[in-house]
């Protein structure tokens, strides 16, 4: 039986391509040859194309809609308005945050580019021609774009549909434009700590409205098969199962008659978590017309309607002793949610996990309150490459700690080291209620500071400032230090659900008779390389080479139920489910091996790819042999076959962390900030595939660069959206992007089956603070404590000007 060529243990391990190796990606063959299958690549017989008529104004009443001219365009098949959806009860839809959103504007428009009518035509050209000819008459209403004015007396009431509701999904509302107030921590104790503190630093830290802007926009193809009553929707869905359940609840189509398929997804970053009017309209159009209907948004529609992120205005007070020990943290957030509360957060967390805002520090008492308000802006509030509101929280605390350091005249690294949660304090319960699983912050920080020669950088900065003083240079050097703790892997069903669906995840494995396998998960990759990495987890668990394991996601008819991919939850939750399902396979395999080897189960031990008799490794059965036996032997007491499924409800979140250092040189005459160096140390627990981890860090840092240095979606006082195309919305090219230095420590999660924590979002969370801290640091010696992002040329120049640095002669040195 054991006739294979003897190979060494190491060779057998290598063959598996399991945990810890930089396995090349299996996805790449199709992508590098242009054979990916994204939603806009789908072409079905008879397929029509839908396109939206959108509101040109930010706030108004619809007086009339005339479809006639549009319907006369050759190729136009239908024009849907709210009045057409009303009989079906689909003119409004529930949002993930417990609010409702107009699918097509119902009497009122509440933000510029809001969906008003849906034109369905033979192709996208005819649809666009039809859109041009739908005549809509509006009555202008005063737009409300400043969240700080939303709850003023006399502010225009935006949401007339709920104007008199005093109770919202998250408690009482005290103004027609108020959505919720959410609190965490001990207000009285925190205010007491502030009152009695030796030092209190205050700052208003705004995190501007941005957008995840994946390179592929959102879209879908809906196809109603009238004969068997089944609705299939291919679309850009980060959570296909949740979409199926929601679709069933709102359309009343039984859930088994809905099939949601996420094909290849061209990046998500949170943009593709939500349910958008385009999906509903396409489905309705397909049901009504009996043919498939495709809807693909263009980039301007994407940036101005489907999802936004941040728009958090955070007022903080941080208390400390004179020698820099933090004693309390107080925070109030004004959250601009736009026209509908469509934030993608677990139900019980209307401000996401913002209460992770005590960060990496042992802060004895803290309090946070968040007020959500409506404005005439696009809805959204998604987690743009971060767990729910964690980037906002991390940015807030990392800025506040720097502000405090300035006030105390302490070094930013020193104050962090002084306040870190110590290694021996884990598991650590924060003042705002989270239980951090594991960490070793000092080691990470020390490694970072040493690697970049932090002392040397500070000495260089001192010399550069002196040279600037002497007029020898017009550049200022800044060093940004940031340390972050993420909270990812949502999450335990006891407190995490979306619309009542517990946030577990799943994996189902079938081992084939010849020893290869297929695994299906409830998540969906959008570039993270799940087909590569989850096969690695399994390879290590079940001893089948990764290359012999097919991984499938995204088809609700075949994949087990899961809550999808966002908030860095795939590895912490579905990755755990994968390991656990693998262990179930192994448990059965052990019984089969025992039968084959005629020993007791307990006499066997697992080694890489086989069970062997303890003390007699010559007597063994490989997984391949066991797989075959599972299908051809009648084993007493055992069912044939070798399959397992695991639904994993994580006992806790995971808490990845990292230390980032950014060095910038700022030209005070032009406001141009050059990123001289960026060092990122990440600790994401057990490392599954270092190559992929490094790639994730590069990408996340580049998104952080974009946010910190330029991204912004603004509205003028007339309610017009700005920053809605890639001319204005900053996506850095290879020229603006620096070369990244990456590093790591490895502190496994104690509660995750393989100790992994997740990494995709960490660099965005930590990166934004590091860039911003560096820019602020460049001016710190002149008394600057904080400037708002984005740190684009003109804002940086204004800072320099405010500090008196921009006397005229401005030639380059």
């Amino acid at each position: 039986m054991n006739a294979e060529t003897p190979i060494s243990l190491e060779q057998r391990k290598d063959k598996l391509q399991g945990l810890g190796c930089s396995r090349k990606r299996v996805e790449d063959a199709r992508f590098t040859q242009g054979k990916g299958n994204y939603v806009d690549d789908i072409k079905l017989p008879g397929m029509l194309f839908g396109d939206f008529v959108r509101s040109p104004i930010g706030h108004g009443r619809i007086k009339s809609i005339n479809k006639e001219a549009a319907l006369a365009v050759p190729g136009v098949k239908a024009v849907l308005t709210a009045d057409d959806l009303r009989p079906l009860g689909l003119h409004w839809m529930p949002t993930l945050a417990g609010d409702v959103q107009a699918v097509l504007a119902d009497e009122k428009v509440l933000f510029q580019n809001q969906e008003v009518a849906f034109v369905v035509a033979e192709d996208r050209y005819a649809a666009a021609d039809g859109v041009e000819l739908v005549e809509v008459e509006y009555e202008d209403l005063p737009p409300l774009v400043d969240p700080f004015k939303a709850m003023e007396e006399g502010a225009p009431t935006l949401r007339e549909d709920i104007a008199d509701k005093t109770e919202g999904a998250h408690g009482p509302r005290r103004h027609p434009n108020h959505i919720f107030t959410w609190e965490a921590g001990d207000q009285a104790a925190t205010e007491q700590a502030l009152a009695g503190a030796e030092v209190v630093a205050e700052e208003m830290v705004s995190y501007q409205r941005v957008h995840p802007c994946p390179l592929e926009t959102c879209g879908c193809v809906a196809s109603m098969d009238k004969i068997n009553g089944k609705l299939t929707i291919w679309g850009t869905f980060q959570a296909p199962h949740a979409v199926r359940t929601v679709a069933s609840l709102i359309t009343k189509i039984p859930e088994h008659n809905i099939r949601i398929i996420s094909p290849d997804i061209g990046g998500g970053f949170g943009n593709k978590v939500g349910v958008y009017p385009g999906y509903i309209c396409s489905a309705v159009a397909s049901i009504v017309l009996g043919v498939p209907v495709k809807w693909i948004e263009d980039r301007m529609e994407n940036l101005s309607t489907t999802a936004f992120a941040r728009d958090y205005h955070m007022t903080g007070r941080i208390a400390a002793t004179r020698d820099g020990r933090i004693t309390g943290l107080w925070c109030h957030v004004l959250a601009d949610h736009g026209a509908f509360d469509a934030c993608a957060d677990p139900t019980k967390f209307p401000a996401g996990f913002f209460n992770i805002c005590t960060g990496s520090y042992d802060i004895p008492t803290a309090y946070v309150a968040v007020d959500g308000v409506y404005t005439n802006k696009a809805p959204g509030g998604v987690a743009y490459r971060c767990s729910f509101r964690v980037t906002e929280a991390s940015y807030f605390i990392e800025r506040m700690v720097d502000v405090l350091a300035r006030k105390l005249d302490m070094d930013p690294a020193e104050i962090r080291l002084k306040n870190f949660i110590r290694k021996e304090q884990f598991p650590y319960t924060s003042a705002l209620g989270w239980e951090y699983d594991s960490g070793d912050y000092e080691t990470a920080m020390d490694k970072a500071l040493k690697t970049v020669d932090y002392q040397g950088l500070r000495a260089e900065q001192k010399a550069a400032r002196e040279a600037f003083q002497r007029g020898e240079t017009r550049k200022l050097m800044g060093v940004g230090v940031a340390f972050f703790t993420e909270i990812v892997g949502a999450g335990p069903v006891k407190n995490c659900d979306i619309l009542g669906l517990g946030m577990f995840d799943s994996c189902e494995i079938r081992i084939h008779p010849t020893g290869s396998a297929i695994a299906r998960l409830g998540t969906i990759s959008q570039g993270q390389g799940h087909a590569t990495t989850f096969a690695q987890i399994l390879a290590s668990e079940i001893g089948i080479p990764a290359e012999d394991i097919t991984l499938e996601e995204g088809d609700t008819d075949t994949a087990p139920y899961g809550l999808g991919t966002y908030g860095s939850r795939s590895t912490p939750v579905a990755g755990a489910a994968t390991a656990m399902a693998g262990r179930k396979i192994r448990a059965k395999a052990q019984m089969i091996a025992a039968y084959l080897l005629e020993v007791h189960d307990g006499d066997l031990e697992w080694e890489v790819d086989r069970f062997q008799v303890k003390g007699n490794p010559e007597r063994h059965k490989t997984m391949k042999e066991i797989a075959f036996a599972a299908y051809n032997q009648a084993i007493p007491g055992l069912e044939p076959g070798l399959e397992a499924v695991s639904y994993y409800d994580p006992p806790n979140m995971t808490y990845p962390f990292g230390a980032y250092v950014c060095v910038v040189d700022i030209d005070v005459d032009t406001g141009v900030t050059e990123i001289r160096r960026f060092y990122a140390l990440d600790d994401c627990g057990t490392r599954i595939n270092p190559m992929i981890i490094e790639g994730q860090v590069h990408g996340g840092l580049t998104e952080a660069l974009a946010i910190a240095m330029g991204q912004e979606i603004t509205y003028d006082e007339d309610g017009n959206v700005h920053g809605g195309s890639l001319m204005d919305f900053f996506l850095p090219t290879a020229v603006e992007t620096p070369t990244w230095e990456t590093d790591w420590t490895e502190t496994p999660s104690p509660h995750h089956p393989i100790g992994a924590k997740g990494v995709g979002e960490s660099p965005n969370v930590g990166g934004v603070s590091a860039f911003s801290n560096a820019v602020n640091d460049a001016f710190a010696h002149l008394g600057l404590t904080h400037t708002q992002m984005p740190h684009d040329h003109w804002r940086v120049w204004q800072t320099a000007q405010r500090l008196g640095l921009t006397g005229q002669p401005a030639a380059a040195e």
Binding site: F31, Q33, I265, G527, G695, H698, G699, T702, L731
Partner: protein, 164 residues
Amino acid sequence: MSKMHVKMTVNGSQVEGLAEPRTLLIHFLREQLGLTGPHIGCDTSHCGACTVDLDGKSVKSCTLFVAQANGAEVTTIEGLAAADGSLHPLQEAFREHHGLQCGFCTPGMITRAYRLLQENPTPSDEEIRFGMSGNLCRCTGYQNIVKAIRAAAAEMAAGKEAAE
């Protein structure tokens, strides 16, 4: 406005079809010819996901009417592999050096890099970054793309040397 008869050479084959003159080249390639490798990312000629090679130049096919491309020679990502199916060194290098994640920018990225290496077979990293600056990627941070192009350039130079 009537449709026009369009003829061009795409990936070495003669193709023809009827199309409205306003049809964007990207739509003609994707929808009429079924070449769905090049993608639409921005609609405003900023992202480069729609990059194809047209008469020996890199162009953005979302900002070009099919009428303008009538009679042209077009190469898309689907035409880069050799006739025997072996991949172009750039396709190999992008995989080897993890130069892609979601894959959406990749066809445009590789097609642009293909032309860049024709224009400059031995680019420095800075020249690669400048030469690729018409292509946006949201996933990789470009570092591994630069690495992949550098590696492919070396591979192609070695191949050329071996052939000589």
